[in-house]
């Protein structure tokens, strides 16, 4: 771990009208960290991730990326290229082939030449095991396949940080494994990852740090064994016993 955090969130707040979803969230993420964010539905996990990526405009607070203010010192396009996102519902571009999905951002945002972009796209498609399907349309693929393409699309932008918003929640149980497998490989490769997830096995075994959120605040933050084996807070214990019993 390096000293300076790659991503630093401080005093982040987000309200939808009267409803305060995030109240004063602060945490740092170091280079190469794999952080799982867990918590009950409605605890603000996804909103936190969407605020970090400015898909939702935070009500207050600052986000520093590589020491620079993400909102004022980074151009939005450059920031988005470096902080990628994988969605629960995949959101592959429906009008493009698998390959084109992974190429379009590289060419339009990073200004790469088609040859280079296609080579890079194929390399990452290979990595997630989807290169054979490069000519297929998203609608022709299963959910697990789509999500693996979505991960390749995000990786093709060479992000420094990748945000995962419940990447396996929309998948059939038998497809969860293939996506988690890809994510496990990515975690091992040293990519900085923030993963909102309900997959406790992933949080416990793959991530190096677990953040437990409850009612818009970070209730507990620590190493997986601390959170899962010796949770300090009653609400963490209660959440874990509820979810692990299932």
């Amino acid at each position: 771990m390096t000293d300076a955090p790659i991503l630093s969130v401080s005093h982040l707040k987000k309200s939808f009208g009267e409803h305060e979803v995030l109240r004063d969230i602060s945490f740092d993420v170091s280079q190469g960290d794999v952080v799982s964010i867990i918590g009950a539905s409605g605890s603000g996990k996804s909103t936190l991730l969407r605020c970090i990526n400015f898909l939702e405009q935070p009500t207050a607070g600052t986000i520093l990326f590589q020491g620079k203010n993400a909102e004022t010192q980074w151009s939005r396009a450059q920031y988005h290229a470096r902080v990628g996102m994988v969605f629960q519902s995949f959101n592959l571009f429906g009008n493009m082939s698998v390959l084109k999905n992974c190429v379009v951002g590289q060419m339009k945002v990073l200004g790469r030449a088609r040859r280079e972009a296609e080579e890079k796209a194929l390399m990452y498609l290979e990595k997630v095991g989807m290169a054979p399907y490069r000519d297929a349309r998203p609608a022709q693929l299963s959910g697990g396949q789509q999500q693996r393409v979505a991960i390749a699309r995000a990786l093709a932008m060479d992000p420094e940080v990748l945000l995962f918003d419940e990447p396996t929640s929309a998948l059939d149980p038998e497809m969860v494994g293939e996506v988690l497998g890809v994510m496990r490989d990515l975690a091992a490769s040293g990519l900085t990852m923030l993963v909102v997830t309900h997959e406790m096995a992933f949080a416990r075994d793959v991530s190096r740090r677990v953040i437990f959120m409850d009612a818009g605040v970070i209730a507990e933050d620590g190493a997986p064994q601390d959170i899962f084996v010796h949770p300090r807070q009653a609400r963490t214990r209660e959440f874990l016993s509820r979810i692990l019993q299932k």
């Binding site: 396009a77 399907y133 979505a150």
Partner: protein, 264 residues
């Protein structure tokens, strides 16, 4: 001079023989007005819808919000006026109005202008509907890899929106083939106008307009078929190739979209 026909089909044949070229030239003008009117109307509608869907955040500065507000209000007026008045009336107002103001435009130019502007008003709403029907996640995904609003519109949202509204565009096209007939009030020599002059000579309105109806039907039917073909082309191939296999990296399998037998 030979005697005039006595039966219905006798008259139909007689009129076709005598006025065939008249009908044909009417068809030509009708198609010209309908096609250019629909295409230009689509472009107008696309532009209007794009302008009306530019996102404005409350925290944007006033010099960004104000012009968009004003523009949006003006576009609303345009849409309301041209959707809320009959095209036959628009034709009279625009053609004779411009003439009175000293602008004498060729009647065909006026025809294309009227149909385009009228279609544009409808297309604006059709395209806007298409844009908002594209899943929000598509825009978010485009945004999440760094695309600007314009890039995401051009590469992701609009292609899907246009594909989805193809049936409505087809509707507009068919409507324009038929409704360009109202332009006979400003003496555009389209199919209806030509039919009227053909019917006038022998006062055979039934036979002539029977022919006219058949021609309109043939035109609209052909156009709907062609548009279906275009839609299918836009959907892309129904099958795709899986490249490579465990034993041979150059192998490929063609997978049909759904059901069916794979062919290789």
């Amino acid at each position: 001079m030979s005697s005039l026909p006595t039966t219905f089909f006798g008259w139909v044949g007689f009129i076709l023989d005598k006025y065939g070229t008249l009908f044909l030239s009417g068809v030509g003008v009708t198609l010209l007005v309908a096609i250019t009117g629909t295409v230009i109307g689509f472009v107008i509608g696309l532009l209007v819808a794009i302008l009306r869907t530019i996102p404005v955040a409350p925290r944007d500065p006033w010099y960004r919000r104000m012009p968009l507000r004003v523009l949006s209000a003006l576009l609303n007026v345009y849409i309301e006026v041209f959707r809320g008045t009959p095209m036959i009336v628009q034709a009279m107002v625009i053609y004779y109005g411009s003439m009175q103001m000293g602008l004498r435009m060729p009647v065909l130019v006026a025809a294309v202008l009227i149909v385009s502007v009228n279609t544009g008003a409808y297309m604006a709403e059709i395209v806007r509907g298409g844009i908002i029907s594209v899943d929000k996640g598509q825009k978010e995904a485009a945004c999440a890899i760094g695309m600007t609003h314009w890039q995401s519109m051009v590469h992701v949202v609009l292609p899907q929106a246009v594909r989805n509204i193809m049936p409505s565009i087809g509707n507009e096209f068919v409507v324009n083939i038929k409704d360009s007939s109202v332009l006979n009030v400003i003496s555009v020599n389209e199919l209806f106008f030509m039919s009227k002059s053909a019917a006038g000579t022998y006062l055979r309105y039934f036979e002539v307009f029977f022919i006219t109806a058949c021609i309109y039907l043939a035109l609209t039917f052909t156009v709907t078929r062609l548009l279906r073909l275009l839609e299918r082309k836009m959907d892309g191939k129904t099958n795709y190739i899986i490249y490579g296999s465990q034993s041979d990296s150059k192998a490929s399998i063609v997978v049909p979209k759904e059901g069916g037998v794979p062919n290789d």
